[in-house]
């Protein structure tokens, strides 16, 4: 009995070819010969899926589609970024369930570190690690399978890291709309803050009733001669004089200076005078709906009382937020007390 496929001469009575395994005779075998058929309801769904595959939402260059390389890379990259937004999602999609827990735990640790050290160097390091992890997932879930050259991989990694860093910043801003932070430039012994400390501020507290003398606030301080190190950006300053009050700077016996409101001296440890304001005969009357804020500035050249008034007298509407917590360094972490 010769096999029709491989022409091997088999022994009589054999049902399958000895050489290629093809069926020779199946008289005694019970074989189903009716093929399965498609249910009618599946037809439109299959048609739809076929169209999806045909349009190549994420085109495959190896399939010979004339899709520009950048377009394909963008599609794959976008998919990777989308999957990487939730750590572990890409692994769930790819059925690598064992990795999900690991990535989630790592991400949780990085985010905890980011919040714990928010505003400091280590906060930035943890932010970088979290972003790098997202970028790693994004690249692994998307581009790595398509991009083989090292330089392109690095370029993709850098691009995705930038995109994710921006995403992190915007999401962080959106989630913590009320809370932000600022660095202290003027030490205040009463509040236990020193130069370089990072304090958390709340925007909702920057309103009448919460702003009292001695409060630390975040405000855009106008520049004296435009030479301030921080310019017009928000800095942490202390409210010294309230609307309608007249503030003077007086010399203290034994050296130094102190603020005086209406001739009455304020305590130096509660209201320290920054070095640049220790000028004789400084007298400023605070207009209505304005506050006198003191903070440290680096200045150059001579300036007078009018310049100081322009720099330190800030409208109430200009005060952005009020400090409520010392955040960094960690060992001085605690809530800010009210002075009055």
């Amino acid at each position: 009995m010769q096999c029709r496929r491989c022409e091997f001469e088999n022994m009589p009575g054999q049902t399958a070819c000895f050489q290629c395994g093809s069926l020779l005779s199946a008289e005694s075998m019970d074989i189903k010969v009716e093929p399965p058929r498609m249910a009618l309801w599946k037809k439109p769904w299959r048609w739809f899926m076929r169209q999806v595959r045909a349009t190549r939402i994420i085109p495959h260059p190896k399939a010979g589609w004339r899709v520009p390389g950048w377009c394909h890379a963008f599609g794959i990259g976008l998919l990777g970024v989308l999957l990487s937004v939730v750590p572990g999602l890409a692994h769930v999609v790819r059925k690598r369930f064992r990795s999900v827990g690991l990535y989630l735990a790592l991400w949780g640790a990085f985010v905890f570190g980011l919040f714990f050290f928010y505003g400091g160097f280590w906060g930035m390091v943890f932010l970088g690690l979290a972003v790098a992890m997202h970028a790693w997932i994004a690249v692994h879930a998307g581009l790595l399978e398509e991009v083989s050259a090292l330089r392109y991989r690095l370029l993709a990694l850098a691009l995705i890291a930038v995109v994710l860093a921006v995403l992190y910043r915007e999401v962080g801003r959106w989630v913590l709309q009320d809370i932000t932070g600022g660095h202290v430039t003027h030490p205040v012994a009463f509040h236990r803050v020193r130069e370089g400390d990072f304090v958390l501020v709340r925007r909702s507290l920057a309103c009448e009733g919460h702003l009292t003398r001695g409060s630390l606030v975040l405000a855009p301080m106008a520049a004296v001669y435009g030479q301030y190190s921080r310019g017009a950006r928000g800095v942490i300053a202390q409210i010294v004089a309230l609307p309608g009050e007249t503030l003077t700077v007086e010399e203290v016996p034994g050296g130094g200076a102190c603020f005086a409101i209406g001739g009455e001296r304020l305590e130096i440890d509660r209201y320290p005078v920054p070095e640049w304001l220790t000028m004789k005969g400084l007298s400023v009357t605070v207009p209505k709906d304005h506050f006198f804020l003191s903070t440290a500035f680096r200045t150059r050249g001579a300036y007078g009382a009018a310049d100081v008034a322009r720099a330190c007298v800030v409208p109430a509407a200009g005060i952005e937020a009020k400090a409520f917590m010392r955040w960094l360094p960690v060992w001085r972490r605690g809530f800010v007390r009210e002075v009055e």
Partner: protein, 256 residues
């Protein structure tokens, strides 16, 4: 009258109506022929049924298994075609034609990577048939490759005794992927080989219509004459008749 008709033998079977002269024996080859006729008529359902009947008579008839898979593909039931090809592969392991049919099912279901893999596997086997090279051509054409027409030529060369069927299939494959000018050459030969095949006339008419040729209506008319009220042909005829002069000139100029 047969001179031995009155003789009685103990072991002889009583003459049955089925074996009466003039009526063909309904065995596997008969149903296979019927299936082929149904295919030439473009009636895939009937073709599938006849292939199944052929298999009921002879499970080892490979052409019927292969035909069933092709009919499922023609009916657009690609996953079912793959399942059935797998079933056939259990009986005919590593058969290149079945692998090629799986490739066709995949390529028409827009699964190009799998299609290429199956086609590669099929081509790597010994004793390749024309179907393997036609499926290769289809996969290559879908991937916009340049070697498609060489694959078609190879398939036609391997056609052997069934070269007429190969030409018709080659024309259909080329036409399906928009290579109407190349398809026309094969289909014109196919209608000479199968002048009573509605499928051949329909495919020729469709091709001519796409190329803006005036003979399209006549070809489709012929297909409808051979198989009246064939929905595909009726639709194509409508489209052809509705195509204005500008469209025809455009197709004539840019048709390939």
């Amino acid at each position: 009258m047969n001179r031995f008709a009155s003789l009685e033998f103990d072991d002889a079977d009583p003459p049955s109506k089925r074996e009466s002269p003039g009526e063909p024996v309904r065995d596997a080859p008969f149903f296979y022929r019927q299936a082929m006729l149904a295919w030439l008529g473009g009636d895939w359902e009937l073709g599938l049924r006849n292939y199944s009947r052929a298999l009921e008579r002879n499970h080892a008839l490979f052409e019927a298994w292969s035909g069933q898979v092709m009919m499922l593909i023609e009916l657009g039931e690609y996953p079912e075609a793959q399942v059935w090809a797998d079933k056939a592969l259990e009986l005919f392991p590593e058969h290149p034609e079945l692998l090629a049919e799986k490739a066709i099912a995949c390529v028409r279901d827009e699964k190009l990577t799998k299609a290429m893999a199956y086609s590669d596997n099929a081509v790597s086997k010994d004793r390749l048939t024309w179907r393997v090279w036609l499926s290769r051509a289809e996969v290559v054409m879908r991937r916009k490759g340049r070697l498609a027409e060489e694959c078609v030529h190879k398939a036609v060369t391997l056609g052997g005794g069934s070269v007429n069927v190969t030409r018709l299939e080659a024309g259909r494959v080329l036409s399906m992927h928009g290579r109407y000018a190349a398809a026309l050459e094969y289909l014109e030969r196919a209608v000479k080989d199968f002048p009573k095949s509605p499928l051949a006339w329909y495919e020729l008419g469709r091709c001519q219509s796409q190329l803006g040729l005036s003979q399209a209506a006549a070809s489709l008319q012929q297909a409808l004459y051979l198989r009246p009220d064939w929905p595909c042909a009726v639709r194509q005829m409508d489209r052809t008749l509705k195509a204005g002069l500008l469209i025809r000139v455009w197709r004539r100029l840019l048709g390939r």
